[in-house]
Amino acid sequence: MYDNHYDPYGQPQGQQPPPQLFEDTSGQNYGYGNQAGYRGNNYGYPQGGGPPPSGGQGGNAQGGAGYPQYPGMPGPQIFQDPMVANMAMQYGQSLVGQGREYVDKKLEKYVSMTQLKYYFAVDTRYVMKKLQLLFFPFTHSDWSVRYNQEEPVQPRYEINAPDLYIPLMAVVTYILVAGLCLGLQERFSPDVLGMQASSAMVWLVLEIFLILATLYVTAISTNIKTFDLLAFSSYKYVGMNIALLAGIIDDLGYYLVLAYSSFSLVIFMFRTLRWQVQGGDGAMEAYSAGNKRRLYLLLFMSGLQPLMMWWLTRHLVVD
């Protein structure tokens, strides 16, 4: 039973206030009388929400604080004490830092986060030049990537390095443009967007599996990491977006833009990968059979791109 002389809820006296769902740590019960025991005990103070409060226990018949006060223990209102509040906050922050470090360490084994950060270190100049290269790779002459062999290079400083920013933006734009195309043909509903997204993901994964399997079976040693492959496989989404936008206007426009962008993408991929697949330092390897295999692999990877581009946009542009 609550004491009737002080009712914080403003309800008429005599009516029982609603049951306490949470501990009331508002400033009503603030007092300096509890300084004695807060040094060591406050992290284990009893949660008093469970048992119903008996009003006169321990002499703390304060309205609104509906939890039992154990004699000698500080009780939760010590957190209003600023020193205790500071200590608690610092402890909490150090816990958060430790927790984050632990999660990062565990995640590092599966998806290497530190490596991933390099791929997103881009700036505007790089993005503009890269997009220009994707559509007009004919005049660029130097495709080598100058970097220290151990650590990956930031795309900011090297125009030929792969990045993951453009592919990520391109994939998201593809999903939106697909929704736009479907909407223009009256075939849109919100779950179609999700299906497009997941099927784009699945085709990407399949393509990377295929390329990795080919790399393994033919036993070619390259410097290409998996994230590089992911980046290279997703550059085609840029061309697909432009082709789809052209396809909205006219079917002929779609085919023309698709043909041109797949052609330029093939040149781009071939030139970029030729440098990367052949040992990475630009020098031709000694044995000749490896070179033939590498050439075939290059042609295979580059030739796969237009096929995928056509396959993934075909169902969105219907005549």
Binding site: M195, S198, M201, W203, L206, Y216, V217, T218, H315
Partner: protein, 82 residues
């Protein structure tokens, strides 16, 4: 073509089943080149056939036992949910 994540998972399970089903004594031993357990020296080029055989052997060794509960789970799942 509408693929979801479930289709991909199903395809992976089915392909792994297909690799593990290949019978060792009736079929694989009869293949020329199967018994090449030692890679000849530290050759730069293991050759495509030996790579494929290595792959098949390692998939069978690793996935033979875990695939049994995975298959049971997929069968029960499809029985209940169609």
């Amino acid at each position: 073509m509408a693929f979801g994540i479930y289709s991909l998972l199903e395809a992976i399970v089915l392909s792994l089943n297909a690799v593990c089903i290949l019978n060792e004594e009736r079929f694989l031993s009869k293949l020329p080149g199967w018994g090449g357990s030692q890679v000849h020296g530290f050759g730069e080029e293991p050759g495509m056939k030996t790579q494929i055989f290595h792959f098949i052997r390692s998939v069978k060794t690793v996935m033979k036992y875990p695939l049994i509960p995975v298959n049971v789970f997929v069968i029960v799942f499809k029985l209940i949910f169609g």
